[in-house]
Amino acid sequence: MCQRLGTEVHAEEKSTIEPEYLNPVDLTLSSDGRRLYVVCSGDDTLREIALSTLAGPTASAAPAAPSAQLVRQVRVGHRPRNVAFSPDGKTLYVSNEWSDTVSEIDAATFTVRRTLPAGWGPGGLTTDRAGKTLYVANGIGNDISVFDLKQGVEVKRLATERYPHQVALSKDGRFVYVSNILPHISPYDQPPVSELTAIDTRTQTVADRIILPGVIELRQIAEAPPRLGGYLLVPFMRPKNLNPLVRVEQGGMLTHGMAVVQPAGPAGRVAHNGSRVTEVLLDDIDYYYAGTYGAAFTPDGSVALVTSSEARVVTLIDTARLQKRLRQVPAAELANRLDSAQTFVVRRLPTGDDPRAIVVSPDGRYAYIANRLDDSLTVVDVPRQRIASTVDLGGPKLITPLRHGERLFHNASYCFQGQFACATCHPEKHLDGLAWNLETPKLGRDRVANRTLRGIAETAPYKWNGRNPDLETQCGWRIAKFLFRSEGFSTPELKDLVAFLKSIALAPNRHLARDGQLTETQERGRQIFFRTTTNDGKEIPAGNRCDTCHPANSHYTAKASFDVGTAAKFDTAGLFDTPQLERVYQDAPYLHNGEALTLEEIWTVFNDKDTHGVTSDMSKNQLNDLIEYLKTL
């Protein structure tokens, strides 16, 4: 059953202009379950959908799927990301990732009441129980904005980890939990460590930084009912980036699952409060469910639902059996066991393309899933463990090459056993913050840091060794042979995928003033970047100036490889491709192997012979200035 909503968007566009897809990414329900609110990041709107459940044809028959009707929509800021209700249900808050704002919407009139300036890249958000305070995760700023809603002002920011993404208010109102997509910046030869940040709503301070070892890409947070202990489910990806990627054939290289977190209470802030974290996989031994993203419980907690955006599946979990599994297998062992899911997964149901956030109706009968690349919602009949319907939100029907390419990017079925998609290691079209041991004839050598995909269209060649002249080479047979261990993409598919990759835009620069004017510090840094002489007047050889390898007219990359003295013990070559510098502040860790954890370390630690530009004559003030300039690019 498929319902079509709205008439204002037509599928028959024939022009070369890319149609405006809706891209639903988040959704929430009214407290009575009769209204569904969907954030459409593609057309910058919030949509209100009326839900009504019709009785079945006979008294004994199952109720029909809820009918869905678009009631109205409101335009919000650019790239809206998440939505949250006020406790009284009278107000909706929508975060606008590229506008750096939060739209406050009157739920009755469905108009924007106020627009609140937020931090950099606002995403997940929630109010406190009283509805007086709003917490907003700033994905680019790596912090949480805390708003006094009465005054409409931001009163403080609390530091999170990297790329804070989703937030959830605990059922008792004591804590706001924040999931972070990227792990701690830590030594490149160590397993990743991620953080679930817990904020005490009474003190509005960070109460605990719950450590999740070995995993990255934490997503939607769901809390079990109190009778089940109130544990949290947090989807994650568990990479084995220290192993050579040839092990994809043996499985277990990139696994997908969820952390079961039992918060210990408010004793934190100065010390970890003893929260218990158990990591359990949702994959099967012979097939994986990549892109775990959305998580929700039924009101009674008997069923948990987790979406897998790159497997296009929603998994239904019997929580009683999950608990049994957690009791039976030691936590340290469980994190790597691929035989767990079969013990508690009761059903896997197909969704639309790129299923993301999920909500469950107050009566527990239906779950609603936002399918970002389908412009649709999947409605799950939870008790019957089946798809009740698919709601077409009315986006363009024309599937353009770009749209197709983006779907391919998020599709793990091209990989052996569905282990991962392009998006698995490039969450949000960016990077995963890890160094990987990719294809190499000598295992354990040539470890390379992941690189962002944002703004790469004109930065060929690709790969750290610069051997891939174009994205077709980068993503074609090489991907199939060395990474996916499968047939990979067909030629037409590859063409669309590359078109999509080239379309990935850079996010707005948060370090540069809107008018482009540099601050005094940035201007001093610019002069250092383009300097031709050292502080004592000696000429810097042309080959050792910043702008030689990072020219301004070419995305700050010369599109060539250079030896800047950064080859490490396990590297088989010393020439490395010059990375583009735009939005470099988001790209840590740095250098080809991710050894430099900060921009400073590039020069303070890894440039002792002045081979990566002449910097040894610079004062610390000058280095700070240079870095502030680099952040403006």
Binding site: R157, I211, A271, T598
Partner: protein
Amino acid sequence: MKEGKRRIDDCRLPIDDWKRRVGKPRGPFNGPSTVKGPLFQSSIVNRSRQAGSILHSALALVVILICASVAAAQNPALYTRWENFTQANGLPDDKVLSVAVDGDRVWAGTENGLALIEKGKVERVFQVKDGLSHRVVAGLAVDKNTGDLWIATFGGLSRLSGGEFKNYTNLTSGLANDIVYAAAIQGEYVWAATTAGISRLNTRTGEWSIFNEKNAPMHEPWSYGIAVSDTKVYFAVWGGGVLEYDIAGGYWKPYNDPDGEMEIVLFRNQGLIHDIVSGIAYNPETKMFWASTYFGLSGYDGRNWHNYLSTDSGLASDFVNAPKSRGNEVWACTDKGLSNLDFSTGTWVTYRPSTEGQHGEILITTPDKKVSRVETPTSIAHNYTLNLDFQGDDIWVATAQGLSHGIRKPLKEISSHESARSGH
């Protein structure tokens, strides 16, 4: 100077003696000649005797009661009970360099890590193995807004938040130098005093700024202390005097010793006592900053300087490690004890271990230079004091041999004890 020596038991003080010396009370009762502080009692009684009138006696009694109450409220009570924390009861090291109060929590920075004292005991110790950037913790700053603790160490600047350390060093960040003596919070900025200048981190943008001899009026970059007011940030610079940074304008104003670096003072109150400034404190109530130097204590009220030397005041020593101030209280952590000035009365009180045993010693110096000495059954841990913070009426003192918790005995309580003892 004449010292009146007296031994007391169980915190009972020679309060009558002390009250006679502490000077006149301030406030609503200040002014009329009938109210002149502790000495007024005898003058009023004498007057009533001269009159021979019962009415006058009754009136005098009422005034006595009122004024005693005022004195109790406005004269500083003494810290007669000390609880000390050392390695013996959980500190990671006896040498405590810094202390910071965060509500019910007290943080102590030692030469071998950081300690959290809560509910009267050392609750937790953090060391390098726990993620702290260096074992020597020289300074602490609690961000009241975020709840994070910023830790100045000899190996960089650490942030403790939600049980996790995040470290900033000269190599990994824009920090000027890894030897950090002090940290302070000013809005979204974290300031750090280092041996190579002052560093400032914008916690929202991640931007680091460095202020040193290249871009600020400091001929010595070695910075020891930071104090923050609503509009200004003050820095103690070793050999460079006091630097004032205007937050709105972004400009600097130096305060230096008019005598240069001469270790004598030509004219009292002519300016900062000495350019070797070891610490700085700001008092938001009096809007004064106080600078500790190795040659005396200086205070500046925006117009006049108020300087104190051990030779002409009750300051225990000219070698002052750190100041602290609130209300009329000015504290000086010296190498010969902890000194407290009641700025309104000019009375000094110094706390130090007794040289004659296990007891504590309080020296009270009145403006007329008369000194009385009191022994207390417990003592501050050591005479070499380095830092201090307030916790309500209590004080916490970092010393060279432990952290001391000074518990104030309310004057009223002391009076009643004294009254009971004397049979009134």
